[in-house]
Subunit: 121 residues, 2 copies
Amino acid sequence: MNANCTIYKTSDFIGKKWTIPLILELYKGKGKKKRYSVLKNSLHGITPKLLSMRLKELAKHKLVKKETHANEFPIRCEYSLTKSGLAFIKVVKSMKDWALTHQFKNEHCKKMNCKNCDCGC
Amino acid sequence: MNANCTIYKTSDFIGKKWTIPLILELYKGKGKKKRYSVLKNSLHGITPKLLSMRLKELAKHKLVKKETHANEFPIRCEYSLTKSGLAFIKVVKSMKDWALTHQFKNEHCKKMNCKNCDCGC
DNA sequence: CCGGATCCTCTGCGATACTG
DNA sequence: CAGTATCGCAGAGGATCCGG
């Protein structure tokens, strides 16, 4: 393995704290766009600094799109998954399947689609 | 999302530096068992402390099995993927597929099976 | 008010040296 | 050979502050 390895490079920016829960949170629910404060409240325990950093990283890698409505008051910012970010959900689902089979038993979670889950799962 | 969420818990112990490359390295090649020094040399840049920590974490979560041959000299330790660890490879492959489609173009890597790759990929 | 930036503290990581 | 010990620094956690 060297620094050019696809998996190495990918795990390097995906395998950071809060990145995967953040992508999942942007996928969840009916609306496609979510505000900073909504994300902060949903990702219970994340600090504003980390949320800000992760959103920037994901935007840089084109998994997340940011829209700022500066003409409104108060200012409203909306974040959403790009096609690339949405495609990443299949990786997350693969991880979930593995975890439910090999790590954590959770019947509720197994039945639930993450998209509709309030995450008692 | 709360602290009980399957994805949150999984990403918490999978999403640490070197964890995924380490699992991939244990998967690669013909032999199933690998020694500490072999892993250290293959994972170019990892420090002995981190390798030791990650192996312990993965053993704790039953993705990796450790065998110590204390009766020999020098002492020989061998690490291998458990069934659970081997099953995790499909998550890694899912990640690789996504990365090659959406992040990094790499024709060589696309053709290559990681198992046989010296990781010029 | 909302979306951050800033400051400080503390854990985690990198590098090197050393031991059973 | 297979790891610990030690130290310094970068990144994460927590609280507060600020511009629009």
